[in-house]
């Protein structure tokens, strides 16, 4: 599924790992973590992974390890319980059990991390005498606020799903560039102030155009020009311009040329 010819890399840091993706999919599908429909979740996992590869996101090898694990569990689930027992005498557990345990434990620590975040927020207002707050260096470069990279990919997935199969054929027309779409989004945001991702994709019928537009969104997030905001869990993702900062960022086209040179 080679949608863009040049090896354009957004190199957006994917902070989330494979467990985050699994938890995301489980939550999105509202399935029971203790009884994961492994076939469905594995398919979705592979779909997202595929998209991340297409987008050339900087994904860690851990994602590939997890996909192998999922495939293994899936194949073992297909075996009748009797055969499973024969194959593996001492282990008659549900093949999903290790993964479930890992996910449940990870979820607990994610909740603990959320609690630490609340404490940190509270402590921003608390000063001890002559003490300094811990210096934590520069603020995060990318403003994804409450939207995760998976939410973004999910919106891309939906947009691609709406495209008719036959339109797939006109891929190599090479009509669109990321640079073009960057300008398009910025111009539109000047008027609209807030745009939902699906609105941005409206009327696009070519997969190449959708992917270029999506990459433009990622690039703008990375350049700190826009922020991706999500009001509710799994709600619509909205992009809005970031408040103007002291350090003026050069025009997006220039920035893209410097980084990519191919655009």
């Amino acid at each position: 599924m080679e949608l863009i010819k040049d090896d354009y890399k957004v190199m957006l840091e994917v902070f989330e790992g494979p467990l985050d993706l699994l938890l995301y999919l489980i939550k999105k599908d509202e399935v029971d973590i203790y009884d994961i429909p492994i076939g469905r979740i594995t398919d979705q996992y592979m779909e997202y992974l595929q998209l991340m590869k297409v987008l050339d996101l900087n994904i860690a090898g851990d994602f590939l390890v997890m996909s192998a694990t999922l495939m293994l569990i899936k194949s073992r689930m297909l075996l009748p319980v009797e055969e499973r027992k024969e194959m593996d005498e001492e282990d008659e557990e549900d093949p999903r059990w290790d993964l479930v345990r890992q996910l449940v434990e990870y979820k607990k620590f994610k909740d603990a991390a959320d609690h630490l975040e609340d404490l940190e927020l509270h402590m921003e207002n608390v000063f001890a005498r002559e003490s300094e707050h811990v210096e934590l260096g520069a603020p995060p470069e990318v403003d994804l606020r409450d939207a995760s990279i998976f939410d973004l990919i999910s919106s891309l997935n939906e947009a691609l799903g709406r495209v008719q199969e036959e339109d797939l054929q006109e891929i190599f027309a090479e009509e669109y560039t990321v640079g073009q779409k960057v300008t398009y989004i910025i111009e539109n945001l000047k008027v609209a102030k807030r745009l939902s991702i699906s609105d941005i994709f409206t009327g696009m019928v070519s997969r190449q155009e959708i992917v270029c537009t999506f990459l433009a969104v990622l690039e703008l997030i990375k350049l700190n020009r826009i922020a991706a905001v999500q009001d509710d869990h799994f709600g619509e993702i909205v992009v809005e311009p970031r408040e103007p900062e002291k350090t003026e960022i050069e025009s997006p086209e220039e920035a893209l040329v410097v980084e990519g040179e191919l655009l």
Binding site: F109, A113, E120, E124, N125, R129, H133, V134
Partner: protein
């Protein structure tokens, strides 16, 4: 010791208030008692009573101070962090203090950093590999950053093959999040490991020389600690590279 120009002897509560106010870091009861012993024996006479103050009496004075400050609504109060006490402003007044100190942009930790920190906090002392197992990704870069920030440090080597290093949280971690002790974190009963007996808190009935020695250990140089911790992490990663190549 210099002579005193003081006529009225202060109450224990007042002394504790003055000490907490003047201190630049959270004070343990031990450090307050040390100041009382030194002053009491140094000045002699009616001051000798202060040298005899017990930990329990000092703790009682801190509690009284805490209560009186809260009742008087002064915009500040006594908090217990990292098993020590400090004065701090009421969070409700924080916005004004930030405006005064021109600290409107406070930096926050990223999600991966918070997750890593949570695992280290609950599971300490823990191996890098244990953190990676829970998070399912490499934590090398984020662990290094947390060490740089002095929120995480190496504790000691484990007894496992290759003697890998064990990591734990620092005093600064407790201060940053305003936590008294790890056990106060929610769900700690479930997520924490049982501590070996020898790491449990000792009761405090130390003599003055014991006090001094202990306090000396307490004030180990945190920066040097961070350098050591980074070196330990480097060592771990190097070992891994060698293993991968071989």
């Amino acid at each position: 010791m210099s002579e005193s120009t003081v006529d009225v002897l202060p109450e224990l509560k007042q002394i504790v208030g003055a000490l907490l106010f003047a201190a630049r870091e959270p004070l343990s009861i031990k450090r307050m008692r040390k100041a009382m012993i030194e002053t009491g024996t140094g000045f002699g006479g009616p001051y000798e009573q202060y040298a005899k103050a017990t930990d329990q009496q000092i703790e009682g004075a801190i509690e009284a101070l805490q209560e009186d400050m809260n009742n008087a609504k002064l915009g500040l109060g006594v908090a217990k962090v990292a098993d020590a006490y400090r004065l701090q402003n009421d969070a409700a007044c924080g916005p004004f203090v930030r405006a005064l100190l021109e600290k409107n942009q406070t930096m926050r930790l990223s999600k991966p950093a918070l997750e890593t920190l949570a695992i280290v906090a609950y599971r300490q002392p823990c191996l890098r590999s244990e953190i990676e197992e829970v998070r399912g990704v490499s934590v090398d870069a984020v662990l290094r950053k947390l060490i740089d920030m002095q929120l995480v440090r190496v504790v000691r080597r484990s007894e496992l093959p290759g003697r890998p290093w064990l990591f734990g949280t620092t005093q600064k971690f407790l201060e940053h999040f305003g936590i008294n002790r790890i056990e106060d974190l929610p769900g700690s009963g479930e997520l924490m490991r049982a501590l070996p007996v020898d790491e449990k808190k000792k009761d405090t009935t130390d003599t003055f020389p014991e006090l001094e020695k202990e306090l000396g250990n307490e004030t180990a140089d945190a920066e040097q600690d961070a350098d050591e911790s980074t070196a330990a992490l480097d060592e771990e990663l190097q070992k891994e590279e060698i293993k991968d190549e071989g």
